[in-house]
């Protein structure tokens, strides 16, 4: 879904002008925006020169009062209206949030769809809206730096984010009016920042195995990659999308709580004070062996050894995930040549020490672990927007969790296994179990457990209109398609009758397209006209692109790949599109013509793709292939 165009109505972006693209690291604790200038990735700071933007939004009755450092100042004084660590709630339902326990001191109100909303002075807000505020602030920094509009962004997500969390992130960007070029996994982004850097001064012909250990504020990822000549191939990924520095703070806060003999339910202010103290203690203990704490009229001492006792269990959980990822990658730990540390929580010496023990080598952290993800994302954005030639870089990423379907008895049948390279498409046949059954309910789930109840439910839909048949004779083909953002599309088809049904998977806890449209409209003063103009402009851009692409294609391959009738039809359709493009102000009419040309030229496009596959391999003789 692309509702927003980036340039204002009437101002057509000039195709050959350099475009403004950024990489955004939307973090649990801090967020950043970076861009590539004269070949190197730079963080875009705020007007005070600060790189980070605390991922904090403060609400007043009238709405958002401030975002970032200013908002963080309200942390202790107005905790219920100061929203922090919102990333932990993205794509999650109320049940998940209950499992996070008392770690987030908010009042929740459920909306009809089961998506949690947080009660604030301004009324209930969804995590997606809060994230959109942070993104909008970052986009503002970029536009200030560019002195112009932002053309697109690569937004990073934890590699272990599931479908619902990814979709929620994309929705937040849409809501903030940002065109998402790609959702990029955080460890992969870090690898780009490191990998390209390293390539310039090292032997480029060799393949290298690297591991990226990314412990952020609220999420943990481990990725094992194979690097060769600018190709970043993720072999396996693992992690925990609800484990991060926050949890280390909570472990310390719980200890404080018991030392202080506080047995009552803590009020939000007390909770924040304890957490702040815990965080400071954790940070100070990176330098010293013990720290004295003044808290709520009491004095406490926390030593390094005590700290280790408190957090070792959590760090060990991350190491288990590392072992699993190494096994999934099918490699031995001693073949991994480099381990990279990413994420603010890896500043804790205990984490680095334990990682070094597991991998048997000293981890690398020559780039600032807080900045590296945004820098890698900026490099990818530069390629995708078309400013930089893509010839020397390619990312091959994987899905973190298996995708399956519910079968009889509440069991999961996996269609796509975890760590499969994306994009990926898989189809499987199922059949009816009752005589004369005319509908089939399809339940899409994500996870690696056998029971559906242990997996995450992504979507349910129904295939109707199956012709009545004896049980077991219908052939229902269910197809899963995961795109390069890691987002899923599901379709189902009865093969003998051709009855078809498909959905873009919208997670149970996400926003519907209508809700997003509504929120977007609400945020414009002259909503309707604006939206229409934007939609029209967007279709015009699409029409231009199609005219240009298809005419070039006809020039090149029209005679060889199309017969006379096909060629004639396509040319007539394109001329009609050209006329509509110039004269029509109804975006729907334009969209229909684009859609119909698209459909009728699919065969042509497919034939061209076939030819270019041959060309891609032609000239790649065996010897060359081996040398490369």
């Amino acid at each position: 879904m692309a509702l927003l165009q980036i340039s204002e109505p009437g101002q057509s972006p000039q195709p050959h002008q350099r475009k403004h693209a950024v990489g955004i690291d939307l973090g649990t604790t801090n967020s950043l925006v970076a861009t590539v200038r004269s070949g190197s990735a730079d963080i875009l700071p705020d007007e005070q020169g600060r790189n980070l933007l605390p991922s904090v939004v403060h609400y007043e009755a009238e709405g958002v009062s401030c975002v970032g450092y200013e908002a963080a100042e309200h942390n202790s004084s107005d905790p219920l209206n100061t929203l922090t660590s919102i990333k932990r709630l993205m794509g999650r339902g109320l049940d998940d949030i209950k499992r996070l326990g008392n770690s987030l001191p908010y009042d929740f109100a459920a909306d009809e769809g089961g998506m949690p909303k947080i009660k604030t002075a301004h009324g209930p807000v969804s995590p997606i809206q809060v994230s959109a505020e942070i993104l909008r602030k970052l986009a503002g920094r970029a536009e200030l730096a560019f002195e112009g509009m932002l053309d697109g962004a690569v937004i990073t997500v934890p590699a272990y984010f599931d479908e619902a969390q990814r979709q929620a992130t994309k929705d937040a960007a849409t809501l903030a009016g940002i065109k998402v070029l790609r959702l990029l996994n955080e460890p992969t982004a870090a690898a780009i920042a490191y990998g390209l850097d390293a390539e310039e001064n090292e032997d480029t012909s060799a393949q290298r195995l690297i591991a990226v250990y990314d412990l952020g504020g609220g999420t943990f990822d481990i990725s094992i990659l194979r690097l060769s000549k600018g190709v970043f191939e993720v072999l396996a990924t693992g992690g925990d999308s609800a484990l991060g520095g926050d949890d280390l703070d909570h472990a310390i806060a719980n200890w404080l709580c018991s030392e202080l003999g506080m047995t009552h339910d803590l009020d939000p202010v007390e909770q924040r004070v304890l957490l702040e103290t815990a965080k400071c203690a954790k940070e100070e203990l990176t330098e010293t062996d013990k720290v004295e704490l003044d808290i709520l009229d009491a004095k406490l001492v926390l030593t390094k050894d005590q700290l280790h006792e408190l957090v070792d269990g959590l760090i060990d959980q991350t190491l288990s995930a590392c072992k699993r990822a190494i096994r999934d990658a099918g490699v031995k730990v001693n073949l991994i040549e480099e381990v990279v540390l990413v994420g603010g929580s890896t500043r804790m010496p205990r984490v680095a020490q334990k990682v070094a023990e597991l991998f048997g080598r000293q981890p690398k952290c020559s780039l600032d672990p807080d900045l590296v993800v945004a820098m890698g994302a900026a490099k990818q954005a530069e390629v995708l927007i078309g400013n930089k030639s893509a010839d020397d870089m390619l990312l091959l990423d994987v899905i973190p969790l298996s995708l399956g379907i519910e079968t009889m008895g509440g069991l999961t049948e996996k269609l796509i296994h975890r760590n499969t390279t994306i994009p990926v498409a898989k189809a499987q046949e199922f059949t009816t179990f009752k005589d004369g059954q005319t509908a089939m309910s399809i339940h899409v789930v994500q996870g690696d457990r056998e029971l559906v109840s242990d997996c995450r439910s992504l979507a349910r839909f129904e295939l109707r209109g199956i012709p009545p048949m004896v049980a077991g004779s219908a052939k229902i083909q269910v197809s899963y398609q995961v795109d390069a953002d890691g987002l899923l599309n599901v379709s189902a088809r009865e093969l003998s009758s051709g009855v078809e049904s498909s959905i873009e998977v919208k997670p149970s806890y996400g926003l519907t397209d209508n809700e997003i449209t509504q929120m977007l409209q609400d945020s414009f003063s002259h909503a309707r006209d604006d939206m229409r103009l934007r939609a029209l402009r967007e279709q015009q851009v699409e029409a231009d692109r199609m005219l240009e692409d298809l005419r070039a294609a006809i020039d090149k391959d029209g005679e060889s790949l199309l017969d006379t009738t096909e060629l004639k039809c396509l040319e007539v359709a394109l001329d009609e599109l050209q006329v509509l493009r110039e004269s029509c102000d109804d975006h729907r009419q334009l969209a229909n013509q684009i859609e119909s040309i698209g459909k009728s030229s699919e065969d042509f496009a497919a034939r061209r793709m076939d030819v270019s596959i041959k060309q891609a391999l032609a000239g790649l003789s065996l010897d060359e292939a081996l040398d490369k």
Binding site: S320, K323, R327, A425, G598, A605
Partner: protein, 176 residues
């Protein structure tokens, strides 16, 4: 689907059991450098969608050819023997006996004093058994004795399942 050709043709490779993995790796990267959706980020929606489909097919072809079991299955499918459609159980008594003994050894290993070492030893044995069946398959397939090759495939499935069961147990032990 656009490239409705077989997985070997996608990589311009002969449909044979023997395959040089490093050649396949190179060709795979060459194709993805051309067809990955990142290369189509600036194209129209239809070309984008086509790139997603094409890259998906290339990924699936690569996965299939890279795995000995999936490759064997696919080769026989091209010859009209579809292991997805008909289940076949081998009647090779010696093989079945060997697998039964391995299974017993596996359940003993779980309960013995040093399960990790026992599993490593068993894993080596299982992989040797799997390699032996693979060469059996290759021999029958290359001489076009497809019925026997199909029987060997059934054994390969058996042996692969066993190897993966061992590594799952190893994983469970490691994560304790």
């Amino acid at each position: 689907m656009s490239i409705a050709k077989n997985f070997f043709e996608i990589f311009s490779l002969p449909a044979s059991w023997e395959l040089d993995q490093s050649v396949l790796d190179k060709k795979f990267r060459t194709l993805q450098l051309t067809f990955h959706p990142d290369r189509y980020a600036n194209k129209n929606d239809f070309e984008k969608r086509l790139a997603v489909q094409t890259a998906s097919t290339i990924n699936q072809a690569y996965e299939t050819l890279s795995s000995p079991l999936l490759r064997a299955q696919y080769l026989l499918k091209l010859e009209g023997f579809d292991a997805d459609q008909e289940s076949h159980i081998t009647s090779d008594g010696q093989f079945l006996m060997q697998q039964m003994l391995l299974r017993e050894a596996l359940s003993d290993a779980k309960d013995c004093a040093n399960p990790k070492d026992a599993l490593v030893a068993l894993s080596i044995e299982a992989q040797q058994a799997a390699a032996k069946i693979q060469s059996e398959f290759a021999q029958y397939f290359n001489t076009k004795e497809y019925n026997q090759a199909f029987d060997a495939l059934a054994k390969m499935q058996f042996a692969c399942k066993f190897v993966s069961d061992i590594s799952r147990l190893e994983a469970e032990l490691e994560e304790l």
